[in-house]
Symmetry: C2
Subunit: 479 residues, 2 copies
Amino acid sequence: MALPGLCGFNPMQDNNSSLFYIFPPSKNLLMKRRTFVKNSGLAVAGLALAEPGAGKWPGSKVRLGVIGTGLRGQNHIDNALRRTDVDIVSICDVDDRMLQMTTELIKKSGKSMPKIYSGDPYAFRHLLDAKNLDAILIATPWEWHAPMVLEGLQSGIKYVATEVVLGITLDEHWEVVHEAEKQKAHVMMLENVCYRRDVMAVMNMVRKGIFGELIHMQAGYQHDLRGVKFNNGIEPYDSGAEFGPKAFSEARWRTNHSVHRNGDLYPTHGIGPVAQMLDINHGNRFVSLSSFATKSRGLHNYIVARGGPDHPNAKVQFKLGDVVTTQINCVNGETILLQHDTNSPRPYSLGFRVQGTKGLWMDLNHSIYIEGMSKKNDVWDEAKSWLDQYDHPLWQRWGKDTEGAGHGGMDFFVLHAFIEAAKRGVPTPMDVYDAASWSAITPLSEKSIELGNQVVSFPDFTDGQWMYRKNDFALTDEF
Amino acid sequence: MALPGLCGFNPMQDNNSSLFYIFPPSKNLLMKRRTFVKNSGLAVAGLALAEPGAGKWPGSKVRLGVIGTGLRGQNHIDNALRRTDVDIVSICDVDDRMLQMTTELIKKSGKSMPKIYSGDPYAFRHLLDAKNLDAILIATPWEWHAPMVLEGLQSGIKYVATEVVLGITLDEHWEVVHEAEKQKAHVMMLENVCYRRDVMAVMNMVRKGIFGELIHMQAGYQHDLRGVKFNNGIEPYDSGAEFGPKAFSEARWRTNHSVHRNGDLYPTHGIGPVAQMLDINHGNRFVSLSSFATKSRGLHNYIVARGGPDHPNAKVQFKLGDVVTTQINCVNGETILLQHDTNSPRPYSLGFRVQGTKGLWMDLNHSIYIEGMSKKNDVWDEAKSWLDQYDHPLWQRWGKDTEGAGHGGMDFFVLHAFIEAAKRGVPTPMDVYDAASWSAITPLSEKSIELGNQVVSFPDFTDGQWMYRKNDFALTDEF
């Protein structure tokens, strides 16, 4: 195999390489799809997705193709290899080193080697053309998610999982929703934090009414990513001041979004759990949003600290504000506060707050207070005893299986849910409307900031069906 | 003395008493003042306030009049009585019970009894007419602050202290600013949290550059006030479901603002310290603001829980959202997040966050992280050792004097600063521009919410002088 670089492009041969280079999906492809969607009509918009009837549960296996075998894709493959109900039939990537790491992982598992598609950024089309899959899992750079989901759906695949986020522009989110409806297929965004053990225990408490009526929620992505956004091209983390073609792994493509975009670039780890607790798209919905961004300092400072003031990247003007804070109104009167904080030194925190008329949970200080139930008036309880008491049935049943699954076991559950739904031929517990409405926060927050923090309205991806839909996320201990 | 009730009004004789009753300053008075301000011209607008030349320091005493001797006024009187440099010359209130508590306090101190003005809501005019004061301190209901400050200034008093907030409408804030400029007099809002020990230590760290360049700040007023907003008319706290004329102390007037207004009703405890750290009005300024409010549930639920579903107050529709969250842009590119959360069960927290390019302080979990200085990478330090190391010189010098002064010693410092400035005849360390810009957040947040969370611009009370003014708040250990 000769894999010349990211998406078939060899930066070593690129004499015009810009600092901001990434290889995007071609515009022609996007135009083609847009025409297609337009012509197809929207007759099924907003309807519950029909059962595809492809379920072969119990006893059989899901034939899975994985597109994108970078470090994140390898996590999912590792978890899929541990399962007896998944056959990894095919994998696809354009990066030699990542494919080599993946094939070693598969060899070690003792399972049979999948067919490998590579050599071209559109090699994934050949993977789809083989028509031998029940499901695909996409773990590529952000800008490839929507195009790959769309082509996956168009190829007839009924179960499509994608890493966060769903797409870049608002229009792309609509395209995916309409295509899923048209194809009567299931698109699940792999939002693993919905399965974090403390988050699920708190959701359990919410559903049992312990917090009373919910009034205000907070969450975010507060994670010092400077060592992820820059590296030396060899080691993925904390190794240098390069990004784009000279870098490795996420720094190769992710950092470019910080150059060009100002908004909440990574909202789903925060909003996913909050949306589930608030029954968003199931009797509730997001109605409007406003975002504020600070000045941009952290990434420039990091380049100077790592590479010196004369490093070429020290000239880059990053548009992403160091802290971006977004407020969201819900139609039932709750507010949500989301923060994106990835350019500064700080301990990791998703900053959850779940507040109702009877009390609240705060993630940062690991505390819960419930009026009349907490040990002392107006004094926090250590959250642990509450979280233990309300441990979610999924964790009670599968806790042992999560060991080694990555991200504290969350990754086990998110793949488990996708595979179990595909096996049974039933809707995934997080669906295309969840994916679209959570992920759309990024383009909406960009728009708000572009307009001077203007409040902007939220699209209703369900076309009014949110009033009638029931939330069936994690109702049992099955998946 | 026959004091028939709040501001000379006896609710027991009021057959038309509405649930929403408070006794406001008369419109005629306001109209008179407005005409006066208009005619006076704005020639001195924005100039640094001139020295009034009334300072008699060292050795002499400040002749102080106190308007409003409710529970908060009594705190200040208690602290003033402990000082050897204050003569309380006169006091004024309309409430028999509060005046009786105050005179007992003064008797116990062994100091001479001040002249008492009472019997009429405008009795304070007689206090001012006596022309025997260097300074006045106002601790009345919110709607009386601006009118009393204005009449105090117009009477020739050069040092006017008022409890938070400065006024109700934006126009009132402007009137106070213009009158202070016209009279070359000093108006200090008694924002005590600027003197909280941990807050001052963090400000000290900010000024020494420990946090790097500031990028994002958070603060708020997160305090379960349900037991303050309602009582039984006899005990001030946690005693019943009454407010307005049938209630005692703050519930008598404060709760009415929750009935009629939706906004951040109490921003200054949060914004004051943050504004000092950001040098607001001193090289920086607030430029715009947007507020979001949740539905209103907590106050109604509390009435039902305390008084039953048939209690007359259970019919009241409270406009104040249970959680109001405000974002502010600063001209130097920082953002500020403010929260107001007073209607729900929760442990008290002002929720401070001070974040710069090198690290951050979080109040909630009592933690600080500074890159390269904290013990472990990406792990919080317990804040205590940092706060001890950077203890502010004011606290080092006066810490012992704060004992028993109320609110953990903050109340000592805020009065100390006002009295020391008056003794010396120098500007107060927090001035009329600070008071106006901090307090104006309330009417601006109301406006934003009324307009559907629209971003609204911030007035520049300094008329452009913010570019040239230096921040001299707490630069030494004197005051």
